[in-house]
Symmetry: C2
Subunit: 400 residues, 2 copies
C-alpha cells in the first residue's frame, strides 16, 4: 500500500516534537523550519483585503487568474531575459503541488526519476504515491554532483531528473558549468528536467544559472525543463501556499493546467490577487539582505564548533555532518532538543532510499551521507538564532 508505506518527513517529526515542548511552556530555539519571521509586505495584505472586498471569493480559472499569470510572465521574462508566452505560465497551490503535478506528468508509474542524493522529503513522498521508482545522482562531500558517475545512474526507464539549486537542505548552488553538464546529460538521455527553484531569490554568493535559462537557448521542440517557483520564501508568505510553473511547450502547459483539476479543484482566488501585488514591487532584496546577515552570523558562530562544514551559497540552511559527535543525525536532533531546547532537523529524511521487502512492499532507510548530517535553519530572528546556534555549538563541543 503506497499511502501506508510513504515515509513521514523528518522536518514534520521535529516540528511536532518542538511544538509539544513549546506547549509545555519551554522556550524552544527553532532552527528547524525554513520560514523566516519576516512580516509579509503590507501591499500583499492590503491586496488580499481588497480582493475579498471586491468579491473575489469564487472559483478561479484552472491555470490561474489572468492578472496573476500576466504578472508572473512579465516578472520571469524581465528577470531571465527570455520570452515566455502567457499560456506557459501555470499557477499552482504552492510549489509542493507544482512538484507533484510535474513528477506525475513526466514520469509514469513504474518508470524512474533521478533525484540528487540529498533531496527535499516531499519528492520521495510524491514519488512513492505515484509508483515512481527513484534513483539518485551522487554528491561529493561538498554536496556537488559527481558528474563522472552520472552515466551509471541512468536506466532505460529513467524519464526525468530533478535539479534543486540552491538546494534545500544543503544550501549548495550548482556552478553554471555543473548545471550545463546536468542539462547536457538530460538532453543526451532525453530526460525531462524538473527544476525546483524555490530558493532562487536567496543566493548569497556565486553565480546562479537556472536550467530554464539554458532550455530557452534551444528550439521549442527540444525544450525539456519544467521550472517551479514559490511565493512562500520570496515574499514571506509560506502560509499562503502559492507557486507556479513555467512549461516548455503548449502541450505540457495544457497538461499541467489539467493536473490542477484533480489536485486542487480550483486555486485559491483571493490569494492569487494578493500575489499580483507581491510581484508589483521588487523588494526581495530587502529580505535577502536580512537573511544574508543571519547567514553570516550563523556561519561565524558555527565555525567555533570544531567540525568541518560547507557554508551554504543560498537558501536558508546549513547542512552539517555531525558524525564526529558519535551520534547519527536523528539521535543528535532528539538529544539537542531534549538537552538544549534547540530544534534542528535530522538529515535522514533528506536521503531516504526505498527498498522492496520479500512482500514487495517498499521500506525506507537513509543513505549514509544523509544519516550523519543535520539541517540547521538560519531563518530564525537574530537573537534566537544567536542563542540557538551557541547552544548547538556548545552541544557539539561537549559531545565531540
Amino acid at each position: 500500500m503506497r499511502a501506508s508505506v510513504m515515509p513521514r518527513s523528518s522536518i514534520r517529526r521535529l516540528f511536532t516534537s518542538a511544538m509539544t515542548l513549546k506547549r509545555e511552556g519551554v522556550k524552544v530555539y527553532g532552527l528547524h523550519i525554513g520560514d523566516p519571521d519576516f512580516r509579509m509586505p503590507q501591499r500583499i495584505a492590503d491586496a488580499l483585503t481588497d480582493a475579498i472586498e471586491a468579491g473575489h471569493t469564487h472559483y478561479s480559472p484552472m491555470a490561474g487568474i489572468p492578472a496573476l499569470r500576466e504578472a508572473i510572465q512579465a516578472h520571469r521574462n524581465t528577470r531571465m531575459d527570455i520570452d515566455i508566452p502567457l499560456n506557459r505560465v501555470i499557477v499552482s497551490q504552492g510549489a509542493t503541488q507544482a512538484l507533484n503535478s510535474s513528477l506525475q506528468l513526466c514520469v509514469d508509474s513504474g518508470n524512474r526519476v533521478l533525484f540528487p542524493m540529498i533531496y527535499f522529503p516531499n519528492y520521495i513522498q510524491q514519488s512513492t504515491l505515484a509508483g515512481i521508482e527513484v534513483d539518485v545522482y551522487e554528491l561529493d562531500e561538498s554536496f556537488q554532483p559527481l558528474l563522472v558517475r552520472l552515466e551509471q545512474q541512468v536506466t532505460s526507464k529513467t524519464r526525468a531528473m530533478l535539479i534543486n539549486t540552491p538546494s534545500n537542505p544543503t544550501g549548495v548552488l550548482f556552478p553554471p558549468g555543473t548545471v550545463r553538464a546536468l542539462y547536457d546529460f538530460a538532453r543526451r538521455h532525453n530526460l525531462w528536467i524538473i527544476s525546483d527553484e524555490a530558493y532562487s531569490d536567496y543566493v548569497y554568493r556565486g553565480e546562479y544559472l537556472s536550467p530554464l535559462s539554458i532550455d530557452w537557448e534551444f528550439p521549442e521542440e527540444e525544450r525539456r525543463v519544467i521550472a517551479i517557483y514559490s511565493f512562500s520564501k520570496s515574499y514571506a508568505a509560506t502560509g499562503l501556499r502559492m507557486g507556479y510553473m513555467v512549461a516548455p511547450n503548449d502541450e505540457t502547459a495544457f497538461r499541467l493546467e489539467l493536473m490542477n483539476e484533480p489536485l486542487t479543484g480550483s486555486l485559491t482566488t483571493p490569494l492569487q490577487w494578493a500575489m499580483v501585488q507581491a510581484l508589483a514591487e521588487d523588494d526581495t532584496a530587502v529580505r535577502r539582505n536580512a537573511l544574508l546577515e543571519r547567514w553570516q552570523l550563523a556561519g561565524e558562530l558555527l565555525a567555533e564548533c570544531g567540525l568541518r562544514f560547507a557554508k551554504p551559497d543560498g537558501g536558508l540552511f546549513y547542512f552539517i555532518d555531525i558524525s564526529p559527535t558519535g551520534m547519527d543525525g536523528d539521535t543528535f536532533a532528539d538529544r539537542l532538543l531534549a538537552e538544549e531546547h534547540v530544534a534542528v532537523v535530522p538529515g535522514s529524511g533528506f536521503g531516504l532510499v526505498g527498498s522492496r521487502g520479500e512482500d514487495g512492499n517498499l521500506s525506507f532507510t537513509p543513505n549514509e551521507l544523509a544519516a550523519r548530517c543535520v539541517r540547521v535553519s538560519f531563518a530564525a530572528p537574530l537573537a534566537d538564532l544567536e542563542e540557538g546556534v551557541k547552544r548547538l555549538v556548545g552541544f557539539i563541543r561537549r559531545k565531540s
Copy 2:
C-alpha cells in the same frame, strides 16, 4: 501514461467555452457552475483580514490549526450528535484534496473502487492518476442505486465505495434505507466508505442520513467511513479551497494528516483562521433558503420543457435526460451555448468509463445514461436563472 490519458472535466470544458464567449462581449447565462453568486459572509472576510494583521501568514500544523480543528469538532458533534475526538478531524485544502487523500489511502494502485454510475469528474481523474481501477454501482432512471445489483459489482480487489448524497450532479438524496443498505454492503465486503458530503447543508426535501452517523453506531475497530466536507458551498467560499475530513480511527487520522505533506506542503494558514469564523455562526440556512427559491423557480420553469426529469432533493443541480431532442448531452450543450448563450454541462463527463486499448493505455467513453443528460445549475442569480432556464426550455421545445 496516466497523466496524459487522464480525462478532462466536462465542467471545465464548458467553463472555458463560456469564458471565451464572454470575452467576446456576449452575455452568457451561466447555468454550468455550482457556485452561487452569494457574497461570502462579512465575518469571514473580517477574520481573514484580522488573521493577516496578526501575522498568521506562516506554516500551519499539517492537520490544521488547533482553533479550526476544535471548531469543526464542535460543529460536527453538535450537528450529528456524535463525539468525534479532536485528532480525527483533519483539515484539507478543499474537499478535492480530501478526496484525493482518501482515495489513495483506501485503495492501492491496481485495486478497485466503486463509484455511483453518475459521479463527480474529479473522482475518475484522481483514480486514473493513482492507478486505481473503477467499477460503478448502477443507478435507476431516478438516479437511485439498484441495490439488487450491488453484489455483482464487487470483486476480490474492491477496497472502497464512494457515496455522495446529495449528489453532484444528480441532486438525488439517497433515502436512509438506501444509505443503510449501502453501508451494510460495504461492511459485508469489508470496504471503506468515502462519503463526499460537500452538499449536506443544502437539502430541500427528504430525510438526510450521513454514512458517518451509521458508522458511529459501531465500535471504533469496525468503523469504515471517511467523511469529507467542504466550506465552499456552505459558506459561499468556493475560491478559498477549504475542507476537512473526519477519520474513523487514530491510524487513519494519522495517515490522512501525513497525506497532507506531499499534497499540500502545508495548508493555507490565514484561510483557516477565516474558517474558524465561518463556523462561529450558524447561518447556512440563509443560503439554503435562497437556493430553495432558485430550486423552486427552476423547477417550475423546467416543467414546461416537455421532458420527464427528477426534481433534485438537494445540492445545486438538475440533471436532465435530453435524449428526446435527438441530441446527446455534448451536442446539446454546445448548441445551446452557441444558439442561446446558455451554458450547461454535458452529462458525459459524469459517467466516463475507462477501457484499455491493445497498448494497455486507458481511454474513456461516457456510459449511456450520462451521455444523454445535461447538468443545469440553479445557483445563478434569480434574473439570470429565469432567463437562462426560459431559453433552455424554448431550445428543448424547438428541438424535441
